[in-house]
Amino acid sequence: MIKIVSKSLIIAVFLLFTANTNAQNCAEFVNGQSLHFGYSFNSMSKSGAVKTGKKYKFIFTLNKGKIYRFAFYASSGLNNNMEFTITDQNSALQIMYLPGEVPEAPLEDEFNSEGEYNGYDDYGNDDYGEEDYGYGEEENTSSSSSSSNTTSTTEDLPDYKAISGIVFDAVLKPGYYNGRLTYPFFEFKPANAMNLEILIDIKELEDGIIKKGCLGLLVQDKADELEFESL
């Protein structure tokens, strides 16, 4: 009889354990993040459960007169292996292609020569904000030297601020730069109203095992002062 009770207890404890560990707290991947200095929360933000081997496409309508900031957060269980393809739907031009995996977190001196990232320190708000980082960038260079899948280069987009030497740590594996925990983000300023498509390809694992995790897209915006004056 004692055996039966013990078995039952083990089953009960097992059920409790597995049920709780399966529960995804994905919303925290958006709600749990601090807003970056000067930006407001945009309700187009999205979080949810995802799994390896699938693609997730998000269509955002962006308005002229605002600057949008997209920050990405993901579970480490997704293996830091995902690709981002960001496209202007209206012109069908691919804005950037970002391979997911970067073997090593970049060193500080790998940021672009002009050191744009460090510009964020100008806010003087080391203790405030999202504590994230984006990518290095240079003008007039191709959009992704590390990827052969890029369908268009910035040569096709002469007026776009070109992206290259991407300092992009997939997830998405946050790293520490200048002592700050940082996450990938992109900032966009629409020249005119547009639909922006972000395709996130969460790569299949080599062993074929499907892993589930959370993905969060925190969208923030602020008025583009230069444009807003004329509105």
Partner: protein, 298 residues
């Protein structure tokens, strides 16, 4: 003893289920501790249309000549008239847009009135869990800090959207979004005194074509639902007018700024709406909106 063991297992499981449910209810506004697999589908690719909330459109209305016009909003008394699911869900979106409008003009009493209507309709459509203790506390705090009024309405909208998604109530969300969009456009198109080709607000109304297209694609995902099918049919008339808009060159319209990592995106062209198209749109928007709300005024 076997019986005892089974009872024990049952009791433990039931106790866990109970505590989990309570936890979920108590933390709804933070979306905590609730498993939701809205991304889970059989296909290898899924698409999510993210429609801007009403407050985003209203945030562009910074022209001092645009006065607060509460008479344009859906009267609170109408809330009693919405009996069926479709009208309740559509008008929930309508009132959410009215709330965003009052908040954008810092109309505290008006905002509180509309918050109360939204909360009442939320009960009717069974999403009252969104307004938990934390959210209610934030709502009360709007009197103490004017800056949080818009933030609270924006956060409320986001929590509603997320709650519906994680509850797998995408049809409700589609109707709510449609109601919010039509009310927002109805208000905006009626508060500007007259058509002005160079008006930024008129341009934003033209740009709503993009949101409209996403909205329709979003609705079409659930068109097997008769309520959504009817809404699509109503909205198609608006689409016919938007389809007439031409794309024009806007090469010099963007001022280049030099913010560190900001990437300028979008084409050099923009949508152009003529005075005739504007007036047609204004009339059609009013017709569709008034059909939804049951109002007769234009």
């Amino acid at each position: 003893m076997k019986k005892f063991a089974l009872i024990l297992v049952f009791t433990l499981t039931a106790a866990w289920t109970f505590t989990s449910c309570n936890k979920a209810e108590n933390t709804t506004d933070k979306q905590e501790s609730v498993e939701f697999d809205e991304f889970e589908e059989a296909s290898s690719e899924e698409t999510f249309y993210r429609i801007p909330s009403p407050d985003e459109m209203f945030s562009f209305l910074n022209d001092k000549e645009l006065k607060y016009q509460p008479e344009l909003l859906n009267p609170s008394a109408n809330a009693d008239n919405y009996i069926d699911r479709k009208s309740k869900e559509l008008n929930f979106g309508v009132y959410a847009a009215d709330l965003a409008y009052t908040a954008s003009f810092h109309q505290f009493q008006g905002s509180v009135d509309y918050i109360n209507i939204v909360k009442r309709l939320a009960e009717d459509i069974e999403i009252s869990a969104v307004f938990n203790e934390d959210m209610n506390k934030r709502i009360k705090n709007i009197f103490e800090n004017a800056d949080t009024l818009v933030n609270v309405t924006n956060a409320t909208y986001y929590q509603i959207v997320n709650y519906l998604q994680k509850s797998d109530r995408n049809q409700t969300l589609s109707l709510l979004t449609a109601g919010g969009w039509i009310e927002t456009l109805y208000v905006v198109i009626h508060i500007i005194p007259e058509y002005d080709e160079n008006s930024a607000t008129v341009q934003h109304i033209a740009d709503q074509k993009l949101t409209f297209e996403n909205l329709m694609l979003s609705l079409e995902q659930f068109q097997e639902d008769p309520a959504i099918k009817e809404t699509i049919d109503d909205f198609k008339e608006i689409g016919k007018i938007y389809a007439q808009l031409k794309v024009v060159n806007a090469e010099t319209s963007t001022k280049q700024n030099q913010e560190g990592n900001v990437v300028i995106v979008g084409s050099k062209s923009k949508l152009h709406i003529t005075k005739e198209q504007f007036n047609q749109l204004k009339q059609k928007i009013a017709e569709v909106r008034n059909k939804i709300t049951g109002n007769t005024n234009v």
